[in-house]
């Protein structure tokens, strides 16, 4: 662990913006919320944010991404992988853990270079959570801190940031800016320890479940149709919970022609399992026609299926879905608590 003064850190960030060939991304205020966006100055960086509107997955799996360019006139198809190397500053631990989960998805069996190359070309500068959103339950999910997945991890200990170096790349980043680093003493180590000890107070106190009970609870509740119908009753099938989720990655693939109608691009766009047509096939057959079935599917994905496949609970407790759901029915804590309370087994 090293120490960097806050003014030195600002200089470090400004130096990166000015001299590094990579795009520098940082968390910034966006009206009364926060968002990851390209940084113009260290002054815009808000490392005290609570949560961003969208998770940083948009940099590895953009909302719209070209996979193939074609020219039907010449019968030509070319693979496309538009990679912008980036330094992403201010990623919270739960988002880092979500990114690690997504890495497994895109590496598994058929490795998806469009995602993976963007990951390889990105440097993640994490920050421990100074503030948490009212909806966050990251401590319950065990995602309020992380020991891996970052290149650098900052902790705000007052006048300085304590910097944990997570990779050679992270260390190189500090060196290239000739940043003044100090060694930590016992006092600073205690401050970091204290910061982490105080973390739980920042989160919601209402979760009554343990994340590792979720696979079992979901198995028990799978067939309880009434439970899902009641919880999904007000669902608008808008897919917002999918869009803002750091571990949702389902996508659609479609062709978009330019005005010549002979050239165009095959795009990957975000899709969501809560949207009505998600499981539709030719001939109007829809294998997940009921909103309750779609609602259940999302929970099964987060709490059981991904766990079965990769050993991860795919809800990191960021609270984005809870906050942004218009009819206010997407809060996982609410659903998981109900399960826990009604369970006959646990």
């Amino acid at each position: 662990m090293k120490l960097i003064g806050k003014a030195d850190f600002s200089n470090f960030v400004d130096d990166l913006i000015e001299n590094d060939t990579r795009e520098v991304i940082g968390v910034q205020a966006k009206s009364n919320k926060f968002a990851f966006d390209p940084l113009g100055s260290s002054e815009d960086l808000r490392l005290d944010y609570d949560v961003t509107i969208l998770p940083p997955k948009k940099y590895f799996m953009p909302q719209r991404e070209t996979l193939v360019k074609y020219n039907t006139h010449e019968g030509e198809m070319k693979p496309v992988n538009e990679v912008i190397p980036r330094i992403i500053i201010g990623v919270h631990p739960y988002d880092i853990i979500a990114i690690q989960q997504m890495d497994k998805v895109f590496e598994e069996t058929h490795s998806d270079e469009n995602y993976l190359e963007k990951r390889r070309q990105s440097v993640l500068v994490g920050v421990n959570m100074k503030n948490a959103s009212d909806w966050s339950f990251a401590d319950t999910m065990g995602t309020s801190t992380t020991e891996s997945g970052y290149d650098l991890m900052l902790t705000d200990i007052g006048e300085e940031y304590a910097v944990e170096i997570g990779s050679v790349r992270g260390s190189e980043l500090l060196n290239q800016a000739k940043t003044k680093l100090n060694d930590v003493g016992m006092e600073e180590i205690d401050k970091v320890k204290q910061f982490k000890e105080e973390l739980p107070e920042k989160f919601r106190s209402d979760p009554k479940f343990d994340p590792y009970e979720l696979p079992k609870l979901l198995y028990e509740y799978y067939g309880k149709d009434e439970f899902w119908e009641e919880n999904a009753e007000d669902c608008l099938s808008c897919g917002t919970c999918n869009l803002v989720c750091p571990t949702c990655y389902c996508f659609d693939v479609k062709d978009v022609n330019d005005i010549t109608l002979t050239k165009g691009e095959r795009l990957r766009t975000w899709d969501g399992c809560m949207l009505e047509a998600f499981a539709e096939v030719a001939g109007d057959e829809n294998f997940r026609e009921e909103k309750a079935a779609r609602y259940r599917h999302r929970y099964m994905r987060k709490g059981r299926y991904m766990y079965n496949k990769f050993g991860d609970i795919a809800c990191v407790g960021c609270g984005r879905c809870s906050e942004q759901c218009l009819p206010d029915i997407a809060d996982p804590v609410e659903v998981f608590n109900q399960m826990k309370e009604g369970s006959d087994e646990i």
Partner: protein, 282 residues
């Protein structure tokens, strides 16, 4: 996977033959531009890719034992990609990704009595296995083929069907749900499940391989249940709208209480014992 880095870049294949099977269904014979082979297993599918229109998952209808290096797709015109494909002519090229998924268990089926049940377009994937079995006839025991369509003009592969009827080593029945007065039809009239009681089923040795629309599965499975055919001796091929073919896009997930299946990776061919607990499966 093929040699290119992108999961999404199709290989170019040329349409070398095309024929109309019914008013809305055509059979395409396709051959790789660079002479390579598809190397598919019966029951696998490819992503058919038409630049400017999109992609659609289509099962390969030809058996790998026939016509190599070319392969056949049987395509009904129901959406953007399939209707654009129907408008293409011999000599034109399209893209193919794949083959993907798990096909029929040709090894497990060896030495067994086989009962093929195809409904409508379900004959397309099943034909890859039927012809595979007929080309390796000595390895398989009894062969029963039941094939049902809505009406006589929807029956496909007539030459092959009449060959099944002629052969002594195949038991075959065709049926139509209804037969208009003006149609010429010598087969049965009635739903396909009515043909199942007539089949000699050996509970220790018969394997049923079923392919058709979701509603057909329901009734065929009920009928096989009456015959007490063990569930692990039934295979089904399921349809989903796979967008990627490689287990990423999420569209073909089939959820169940214990786990979820990806039709593109775990299927499209499934053992009924495995999927019967999955309410979304059929």
């Amino acid at each position: 996977m093929k040699s290119n880095d992108s999961l999404f870049l199709p290989e170019q294949v040329r349409i070398i033959g095309q024929r109309e099977l019914t008013s809305d269904t055509k059979l395409f014979d396709l051959s790789f531009e660079n002479g390579q082979q598809l190397n598919h297993e019966p029951g696998q599918f490819v992503e058919l890719s038409i630049a400017g229109v999109g992609e659609a998952p289509i099962s390969v209808t030809s058996s790998p034992t026939r016509g190599v290096p070319s392969f056949e797709l049987c395509v009904r015109s129901v959406g953007n990609v399939t209707s654009a494909f129907h408008n293409m002519k011999v000599g034109e090229t399209v893209g193919i990704r794949g083959p993907f998924g798990k096909g029929f268990p040709v090894e497990e089926l060896k030495e067994r009595d086989l009962l093929f049940i195809a409904g409508g377009l379900g004959i397309a994937p099943l034909r890859s296995l039927i012809n595979y079995v007929l080309d390796n006839r000595d390895y398989y025991n009894e062969v029963n083929i039941l094939y049902g369509c809505r009406k006589p003009c929807e029956q496909m592969f007539e030459d092959e069907v009449s060959n099944w009827a002629r052969r002594q080593d195949i038991y075959h029945e065709s049926t139509v749900d209804y037969c208009p007065d003006e149609a010429c039809w010598e087969g049965n009239v009635g739903v396909i499940t009515e043909l199942i009681p007539g089949v000699d089923i050996d509970l220790d040795n018969t394997y049923a391989v079923v392919c058709g629309p979701p509603v057909m599965y329901k009734f065929v499975l009920q009928e096989l249940e009456k015959k007490e055919l063990p569930h692990d001796q039934i295979y089904l091929s399921l349809e989903r709208r796979m967008k990627c073919g490689v287990g990423k896009c999420g569209h073909c997930q089939i959820n169940g209480a214990k786990e979820e299946l990806y039709a593109c990776q775990d299927g499209p061919v499934f053992n009924y014992e495995l999927i019967k607990g999955f309410e979304e499966a059929i």
